[in-house]
């Protein structure tokens, strides 16, 4: 499972205790439930007393790790689009 997918699921459960926001967004039921089952087997997600999904300590720890990484992400433009700075004397003024 990609780290971004893992974060999406952990984050949704942390915020909503439900998978409905993911289904509403149009993700496939089959894909989401398989990913969730994988995270449950890895003991990152469990059910609380109200039978709602919640993050375990491991899950919460993992959420924090990915969240931290995520804030350090930078989106760079592709090299092809890098433009070298123009000096003032290169600008033509008629």
């Amino acid at each position: 499972m990609k780290e971004s997918t893992e974060f999406l699921i952990l984050d949704t459960i942390k915020k909503h205790s439900s998978l409905v926001p993911l289904f509403s967004a149009g993700y496939s039921y089959a894909k989401i439930i398989e990913w969730v089952r994988q995270l449950e087997e890895e003991k990152k997600i469990c059910f609380d007393n109200m039978e709602k999904r919640t993050l375990t300590d491991i899950g919460l720890g993992r959420w924090k790790v990915i969240k931290k990484k995520k804030s350090g992400f930078t989106i760079l433009p592709l090299n092809d689009y890098k433009i070298s700075p123009i000096r003032v004397d290169e600008i033509y003024l008629p």
Binding site: L19, F23, A25, S28, Y29, A30, K31, I33, E34, R53
Partner: protein, 289 residues
């Protein structure tokens, strides 16, 4: 999916457990997963009472995919050959269980004929020692009447038994061989078997099925569940007379195609509905010359 009804994760989880326990594939290599379609169908139902009923019934659902056909056919034939009703013969004829109106059409019973030539089938003594003649249509049998030692009529599913009785009526008018006829099916409803047995023809099936509500629940509970199911079928715009499956058969079966004897919630699609999980829609059709 925005704007559409979405199924709660409670039901998605319940359905997931059923799929896993039955070893049904969750995701095919295509866009229209049976699981996703099933979730969409549950989502569009009117209330949780209806969803609970469908989930409960699905626990007893039988889905026989094409890869299981040979195993089921071998089991059904074994039951026939081991039965004391089977009279050994050197000339066995196998014929599709077809009513006259379906002669020449591509039906499931025709598909079954090809499997009768399989390598595994030839491991049975009857297929080793005897002369096996596979007939494309019951109409051929008249010409072979004197040579027929045993006639096996085959199909993949028997629901109410109406089709079988139509075929038997045709054969009765064609030639006299009642005592040599046996019907073999992969799956058969008990009600269908009873109806055929009234014609004094034995039926052998790999799996027999009861009516999913009437034969399973106490009377009062069955009535409540039938009312809910009828409400679901009406809501889904199922055709009249089909609310509990064709001829009120109350089947919970899908074969390569889903029989119309199965509750419509599993197969019926209407322009106002989303996808049915075990769909039998008219957009896939056989055309003939």
């Amino acid at each position: 999916m925005l704007g559409k009804k979405v199924l709660s994760d409670n039901y998605v989880t319940k359905l997931y457990e059923i799929f896993k326990s039955k070893e049904w594939t969750l995701q095919e290599n295509s866009d229209y997963s049976v699981f996703d379609r099933f979730c969409s169908r549950l989502a569009e139902l009117e209330n949780d009472e209806e969803r609970d009923l469908v989930i409960e019934l699905t626990g007893g659902f039988l889905w026989v995919t094409s890869s299981m056909y040979e195993e089921y056919l071998l089991t059904a034939l074994k039951k026939l050959f081991e039965s004391d009703k089977w009279k050994k013969s050197k000339n066995i004829y196998i014929c599709p269980l077809l009513p006259e109106r379906d002669f020449g059409k591509l039906k499931s019973s025709i598909f079954m004929l090809y499997m009768c030539q399989s390598i595994l089938m030839r491991t049975y003594p009857e297929f080793q020692e005897g002369q096996i003649r596979i007939c494309e249509s019951p109409a051929i049998l008249k010409a072979h009447e004197d040579r027929i030692g045993g006639l096996i009529l085959i199909d993949d599913f028997i629901g109410s038994g109406e089709t079988a009785i139509e075929c038997l009526d045709y054969l009765k008018a064609l030639c006299n061989m009642d005592e040599k006829i046996y019907i073999v099916a992969l799956v058969a409803q008990e009600e269908g078997i009873k109806n055929i047995n009234k014609e004094k023809i034995p039926v052998f099936a790999a799996v027999t099925r009861k009516k999913a509500i009437t034969d399973v629940y106490p009377e009062e509970e069955a009535k409540q569940k039938m009312d809910i199911m009828k409400k679901i079928s009406t809501y889904l715009h199922a055709p009249r007379g089909m609310q509990l499956g064709y001829a009120d058969t109350e089947s919970l079966v899908a074969m390569m195609k889903t029989p119309n004897n199965t509750f419509p919630v599993y197969w019926y699609e209407h322009k106002n509905n989303t996808y049915a999980p075990f769909v039998r829609k008219g957009n896939v059709k056989v055309i003939r010359s």
